[in-house]
Amino acid sequence: MQDESHETGDSLFEAPPMAEQERMVEAILFATAEPVTVAELADRMPHGCDPAEALAHLRRRYEGRGVRLVKVGDAWAMRTAPDLGHLMHRETVETRKLSRAAIETLAIIAYHQPVTRAEIEEIRGVSVSRGTVDQLIEMEWIRFGRRKMTPGRPVTFVVTQAFLDHFGLESARDLPGLAELRSAGLLDNRPPPGSLPQVGDGTDEDDEGGITPEGQSELFED
């Protein structure tokens, strides 16, 4: 530690000018196809730099240009402006056609995360095939979240940074129609009255129903 600060001792006290820091962030983001976190930027830039401020400058600079600076979760990336997509048909990546089941499952995970398999099944009314989940995991659009603190401690699914990147979302809070769905109570985990025979899944819903008083809703609240 100490020896390092010896080497770069002077930069500790004198970070490069902001214009220079902006150039550095620009260069790093242009060179990378994946989003880069502020921490990674700080890591690669000289000591004393403020990547967050440099990013703010850079974002303004690229407003209205052919490429833009976009936020993806807690990372940043350069992306072409969406209105110019038609020029890029040569670059278009043929994505694997997702089944309706996969698309619905993905949406349920995005809007209800963190969500268990049983909850997905309750919403869709059918069991979720292993292949569907595997496919979404393989595409790196979903991943395992924390286990629920309910009997059996079931695993949950959440969406990934790659999901946000693919769909151009800054965060899961920016999902289209999220506020309306929430105010309509459609993201509530409403337990079925009494012990109704639930389609697709049996009896453990009751337990899981009660579990997410905080759950996804809280995730999106702030």
Binding site: T95, A107, G125
Partner: protein, 269 residues
């Protein structure tokens, strides 16, 4: 597919029952296209052309039961969960039609119907959300990442570190390894008693006459005062040891006079 077929019948909706029956028949053909009873119920609900919140669950239950009835007549094999749903809907229907029984426990027919309506609305909402999601500007289709990313070379550097505690513990470990062993660096100037004893045992056999013990000092230990001191002390101690063993005898004529030693002739005793 299922929805398309269904759409044709939607337009014919004049006489409710007939339309529902026709719709059910059309649906049966495509029963494999449905993802379970809830999906089917959602499709059926569209004949009502109302907001899902105001949907008549009673009407929906009738349609579903008609569907299952027709499927049976056509000897179509329905999956078990379709039949479970049918049984449940039949029960729900009776709860909705009969006046509430004050004795009856559990949720009312209205509560059960409301939850089914909620499930349908929620499923529809998720489908709409999925459609909106898929219609967004998507990476690789509408928005593009850097086509020619430059390689970021990864330099892995290992930095070794230690704490003051490591250092002190390491030192302590060394210094207490064999705490009785004389410090090795001191040995250069120390002629141990063991060494002196070894030396004297070898020499004593040849000294039948009185000899000053300073004469037994090893070579190289007589010049340097520190070395001479050490060798003298150990040689003296060793000679005492030999006397104790009975293999030598010593004498000193006066205080501070030279100490002499000679072999003790056992045979002479």
């Amino acid at each position: 597919m299922a929805e398309d077929t269904f759409g044709q019948h939607e337009s014919k909706q004049g006489d409710g029952n007939v339309a529902a029956r026709l719709a059910a028949e059309a649906l049966i053909v495509d029963v494999d296209g449905f993802e379970g009873p809830l999906d089917l119920l959602l499709s059926l609900s569209r004949t009502q052309k109302v907001d899902l919140r105001r949907i008549s669950i009673l009407e929906l239950a009738r349609q579903y039961l008609t569907f299952v009835e027709r499927a049976k007549q056509l000897r179509l094999e329905l999956a078990a969960d379709y039949l479970v749903m049918a049984a449940w809907l039949a029960y729900l229907k009776s709860r909705l039609l009969l006046p509430p029984d004050p004795e009856e426990e559990g949720p009312s027919g209205e509560e059960m119907a409301a939850h089914l309506a909620f499930q349908l609305e929620r499923l529809q909402a998720m489908r709409d959300a999925a459609a909106k999601l898929m219609a967004r500007d998507r990476l690789g289709r509408d928005v593009f990442a850097r086509g020619l990313p430059e390689d970021v070379t990864r330099v892995r550097r290992v930095r070794y570190t230690a704490t003051l505690l490591d250092l002190m513990q390491g030192y302590a470990r060394l210094r207490t390894r064999d705490e009785f062993r004389p410090y090795v660096m001191d040995r250069e100037a120390v002629f141990t008693m063991e060494e002196a004893l070894d030396r004297l045992r070898g020499l004593i056999g040849y000294s039948g006459d009185w000899t000053e013990i300073s004469g037994f000092l090893p070579e190289g230990w007589t010049e340097d005062p520190a070395r001479r001191r050490s060798a003298t002390a150990s040689t003296f101690a060793a000679s005492l040891e030999l006397v104790k063993e009975g293999s030598a005898e010593m004498r000193q004529s006066d205080t501070f006079a030279p100490i002499q030693m000679r072999r003790k002739d056992r045979s002479g005793e």
